[in-house]
Symmetry: C2
Subunit: 251 residues, 2 copies
């Protein structure tokens, strides 16, 4: 965060015609935190722009993208599997991690609904320090290679209504292994993700360095209401400021 | 400058298993300006720390260093020539230019006295967008390879008291070819650099994109007075903010 003037200072030794020249490099505090945004099923990166801009203004580098089968993609939405989605998220993560201002120790992921599910899965494959999941979805592990659009909706609905643990759920298993800071944001009137699913996520995050669960009152799953959007943006940026600051104090 | 939230936004196209994934990278406005500081004869990089910190707080990357024969160096001061000094400055410039946040189109150089003379010479060899010279020294081109400490002081004194032009002066010739923005800062009570030398510099900067000449009232050449130092720091940071902003507007 650009806390009005944090400075990093490094000694540099140059050799000039065999002679030693001692220098000092001063730069704004770097690396900066990097954040990857993963949108929900049927959405696109446009959903995440407001939050990404807010975090960039705090001095972070942000990466949003359209999942395969959505928006800028030429794949058929009905054909993409969860494995395809996970591969897209991995590629997007690697793109962000290759940025010269970003280091893997300082990467956060912010996922919504299906994108939250994929974000949880990502943490099993790449270093993630901060994980914010808004209304994350849950799916049975079975039918992993069935296109997501062709999963039996009734089976999925029932799965979400029962308590689940990491024993046979890849996403919850990744959450149980997650050691970073986690934020879970629910919508009070979520018509797709029942309370049981949030409870399963909350229970799974038992090894997280810190865990916070917030509910946005009156909000629906898609949360199109601008007032709710603003509440979420404030919640997210406040949480990230706190987390980044405390990670600095911790060194 | 971190103008509380300038954002750079770039489209990124990823290929994942032969599929197209469209992303957007948002980052704080980069590259950032880079500034090289060149201290005076008999001084060291400690002289420049206050100004370097002030510019780093504005979001710039800064590099200060000790010239060969000074402070951290193991060379004998009495043996170093102007050519040695120029080579040190070139190496320090190249070090700054290699920084991932800096591009050569956005490098400024800030030199004091002998360091101002070397900074002017540097502009003939490397791209410099902003050049700030405080009480820059002048020397005859002759005896180029004589150690600086062994130059005839009386010859140098007389050279500075007469109007000089770029016809046979490497430093003034570099200033005449300089197309960036230039700031010349004089001390009212300079006991080493007479008014004629400043006038020669001012005349030489006739091709600069912009040129400003300021005099710090009551100041001596070394300007040890803290009040004068603060005036200079404010002058320098204000000038650089203006220059960087107008270069952004100009694209």
């Amino acid at each position: 965060m650009s806390d009005a003037g944090e400075i990093e200072e490094d000694r540099v030794l140059l050799r000039v015609s065999g002679q030693k020249v001692t220098g000092t490099l001063m730069q704004p505090d770097v690396p900066v935190p990097g954040f990857l945004f993963v949108h929900g099923w049927g959405g696109d990166q446009g959903e995440d722009i407001a939050q990404a801009e807010a975090l960039t203004r705090l001095g972070c580098v942000c990466f949003t993208f359209d999942l395969r089968g959505h928006a800028g993609s030429d794949a058929e939405r009905d054909g993409v599997t969860r494995q395809d989605g996970l591969e897209d998220v991995l590629a997007a993560y690697d793109q962000l991690a290759s940025h010269p201002l970003v280091q893997t120790e300082g990467i956060g992921v912010i996922g919504t609904s299906y994108g939250g599910y994929l974000s949880a899965l990502l943490t099993a494959h790449r270093p993630v320090r901060w994980l914010a999941l808004r209304v994350p979805a849950l799916y049975p592990d079975s039918e992993w290679d069935t296109p997501k659009a062709r999963l039996d909706k009734e089976v999925v609905r029932r799965y979400r209504q029962e308590p689940q643990d990491e024993g046979n759920d890849r996403a919850l298993s990744a959450c149980a292994a997650f050691r970073g800071d986690a934020l879970l944001v629910s919508s009070e009137h979520d018509e797709q993700i029942p309370r049981e699913a949030s409870v399963s996520y909350q229970a799974a995050f038992r090894n997280a360095r810190s865990f916070s669960h917030r509910t946005i009152l009156g909000a629906t799953h898609a949360m199109r209401d601008e007032g709710h959007q603003r509440i979420y943006t404030r919640m997210l940026t406040g949480w990230i400021e706190d987390m980044v600051k405390s990670s600095r104090v911790a060194g």
